[in-house]
Symmetry: C2
Amino acid sequence: MNQQNPKLTPRKGPKRNLFAHVVENLGKRIVTGELNPSVPFPKEADLGREFGASRSVIREAVKALAARGMIESQTKTGIRVLEAMHWNLLDAEVLNWRYSTMPQAQFYGELFEIRLMIEPQAAAFAAKRGTIQEIALIGEAFEAMTHAGMNKVSGIDADLLFHRSILAASHNPLLLQMGNLIAVGLYIAHKISSESFVVFLPKHKAVYDAIKRRDAVAAHDSMEHLLSETREFMNQHIKTIPAHA
Amino acid sequence: MNQQNPKLTPRKGPKRNLFAHVVENLGKRIVTGELNPSVPFPKEADLGREFGASRSVIREAVKALAARGMIESQTKTGIRVLEAMHWNLLDAEVLNWRYSTMPQAQFYGELFEIRLMIEPQAAAFAAKRGTIQEIALIGEAFEAMTHAGMNKVSGIDADLLFHRSILAASHNPLLLQMGNLIAVGLYIAHKISSESFVVFLPKHKAVYDAIKRRDAVAAHDSMEHLLSETREFMNQHIKTIPAHA
DNA sequence: TATTACCTTATTATCTGATAATATAACAGT
DNA sequence: ACTGTTATATTATCAGATAATAAGGTAATA
């Protein structure tokens, strides 16, 4: 009965998906530190008033954030933000919230540090353990990259698929979790420089070839090389880009 | 009004925390594959009947699982389980569900592969970037380990704190996420062999000393050594243990 | 036959207004 | 100062609505 008035929310306002809107709004406020463990968190009733949402929606949103380790809710005590060390930073949404509220270079730096720890070893595992079918999927992703040309979206998709296929071929389910991280990384990379993945096609091929011929050491090193070069390339371009949207 | 009857749930039954019980029950059924993308997921109404819970509780539980990437819910379509690649496997709860429903050795193997990728480099970063205060915390955690003696719980706590402090000193927030993974790993390790962390005290000290003297290479190598030795030790003991509880 | 437009329906999304449980705070008694 | 009791604010759960939406069926049309 509250937010329905079209004059109050004339356009662009969160019409449907109230739940998602509340989650995103609170999530972003938490990652920016506007809501933090030290300040009192709004009560369910306050949130309902603020968003013009019923208590059900608010409670569901609170549970969704709690499942990501960002808040905790207790009878009588109310809701409170947890320390950042408890957050599920590899969750796709949390990654996006952080990305959209952090200095681009810093976020990108964090991302690549992890990728450099994970992906070379994952490539080595893929070379050692990947089935023929799994390795064929890596090849298909590479083919898709070559055919994407300058098409940005399909380029990102293919690039992401390439890296995800390697994680899948490594036969460690925990590694697949890193896919989200790579996805955000690629999104940023292509935003910074759309031709980046064309430039690095040969280096992707080197990784694929190494995996295909079961050369774990070469797979490791070529992946490490690809990532280092990409990071270097981005560091040179990132300063030319103003603060992102 | 349904499950309240004390005769139906005489003891041990999920009296309070209905929400947590539903989340855990569904979560475990999903990780075991009993509920998977191919089979139709129960509707909200069915779940409410099964758990003797109101729709509110069911919906909140669904949102909590959806936030972990395990299910998706859509009007008219209903709920469906997502492919495992979308799950937040590093979430503390998901880790526990998987641990309690997987062969111990396999789970432990997955875990240590990741730890070996992450922690040596994290130790190197800690040596390079850690503040004096952060490194002091690592030292305190080590002291706590030495004083824990054979006290299992405080030993695990101190051990976990030791590794977490190193992650924190690495100054990459994404690495802190790995803390959950280490926590489960330590829990299993001490279950397999309670004296393990006494045996490895000197190797922990080596890591701490290297970080304290800002020797990144030594920090990396000593952490790698500690983890490799621990894994080896566990592999020798793990077969003597029957399937866990 | 194939395609499009419309209608029906099952299911989740949201709202409203209750009662119950519980942790903090205030208070009283020693 | 300490300990036990009571009040109160807040979340937890319940119950029963209406609204929105996507899937499937049906009919009109080319």
